[in-house]
Amino acid sequence: MKKQTFFALLLLILLIPLAACARQSQQPAAGDVEMTLAVRPDPPAVGDATLEITLTDGEGNPIEDARLNVKGDMSHAGMEPVLAEVEGGAGGVYQVPFRWTMGGDWFVTVDAVLADGTTISRRFDLAVAGNMGGMDMDTGE
């Protein structure tokens, strides 16, 4: 049994540091850019919505002229994500037309490319209320 125990322990020892790792591309970029998200309607519910993303620098000044890629994923695999892009952002506020296609837990990931080429990524977790319309049968069509 000593050999089996050894192999089992070796496997665990090899896996534990792996568990502490995160791939470089998944780690949010550092910086003093502040990004906030507000949703309308609030609380969010299945159907059309607007995401209001605000970008400010470390001193609270608005950041304009960034390009934002927004990706809404549900907490489970297998659902087509909701994608959106927006530019401009007068006053540092970016209005993004969006659509919650199903009730449940959502992750909204916002990747922003600032005018100077700096990139920033933030993830926001939201719970979207369902309704009896349920699953949006028009999704993807």
Binding site: Q4, F7, D73, S75, G78, A127
Partner: protein, 469 residues
Amino acid sequence: MSRLPAVRRPDLLRLPLLGALLRWRRGRLVFQLALLLVALLIIYDGLTGPQIAPENIATVAAWLQYRGLVVLALLFAGNLFCMCCPFTLPRTLARRLSDRGRRWPRSLRNKWVAILFFFLLLFVYEWFDLWASPWLTAWVAVAYFAGAFLLEAIFRESPFCKYVCPLGTFNFAGSTISPLQITVHDRDVCRTCPGKECVNGSAQVLGCGTELFPPQLASNIDCTFCLDCARACPYENVALAPRSPLQELLRPDAWPRRWDWAMLALVFAFTALSNAFGMVPPFYELEAALAGWLGREEPGLVLLLIFGTIDLLFPAGFGLGVAWLSRHLAGKREPLRHTFTRYAPAVMPLAFAIWLAHYGFHFATGALSIVPVTQNFLLDHGITVFGRPDWTLSALLPLSWLLPLEIGITLVGLAGTLYLTGERAAHLEPEPDPLSAQLPWVLLFLAIALAAIILFTLPMEMRGTGFMD
């Protein structure tokens, strides 16, 4: 070697190329290594990749691809995933390292342990939101490797596959309606075979890990499709033959008259319902109501109450109640076990149909998402040749097709179950059961089918929001 049997039935093992590959001593290893690669990817990406389920290979491969493909394989072929199971690779190593240890305890040589572990996996899946956590999904895969390794190192036969593995339990149950089964060409060859290598193994090939004797096989339960029996047979007498999907459940001797086997059939049916129930609004309402009733928000306890009731108490309660009523209406004086084991297995086509409709739905809505997930994984590792991920790739079929398909599949399963009910009533005993004896079972099966159809028509809301206002 002196006596090659005449080929009397179609046999996939006799097909050119495929047959040779399946019978090749390393044939299974080829398939296992392919799935081992997938399992290692699941562990690696689950532990190090993006912790967003739709973007991670662990969650997409385990909870979407695997489950969809496994029901399709069971429907169109058989227990292919046990055949290709990578978890048994370290098991084989453990077997060689161990000294052919002790026997699995006699009191545990039944399906009760398997039912318990099957329930536990489904419960843990709900409790810890495994579908939403690549990290936990990776650790589930690690636990599988460790469990198979440890049990094989300690015990002589393959108790992990036969008595413990929840995935195997699902596959065994589902494969009872599969169109392929291990059998033999000539029973006389087996009768006079001195070595019984199919079970005992030979110098080159292990015998059947779950200790099945091919000429006596009437059920796919406990058969992992490893084909070690075919490789070990010196007479090439073992066949992988097509059969009617209902053949096994029509045969009176296919299943032993055991409580555990029959209960597995009903648990398989009720877990199919509960697994779908966990995704619709009434589940959340019940969850919130129970939390209020208990006076505290403990998801684990609430989920244990809900799923313990549906998965274990309902099969036992409804099954025994319906069996008692059935026996009473028939006016028979037989052990309740006989009535129970006569009818409960008839639920299998319906139960499998509900699983197929549910898992098939998710597979149809998201199967293609593995493409951008894999592209993203490769990009993260500097491989750009496959381009940037197209996250809009997701559905295999138009969503508007899915509800009719789900209902249609359920109704086909129900038809199979009702046919089996009548046939088992008429032919399993010397004296046929009257229609009145079938009635309680028919009503139970209709209720299960109706519950499934109602569930499929409800809007799906994903989990995790049960306690939120």
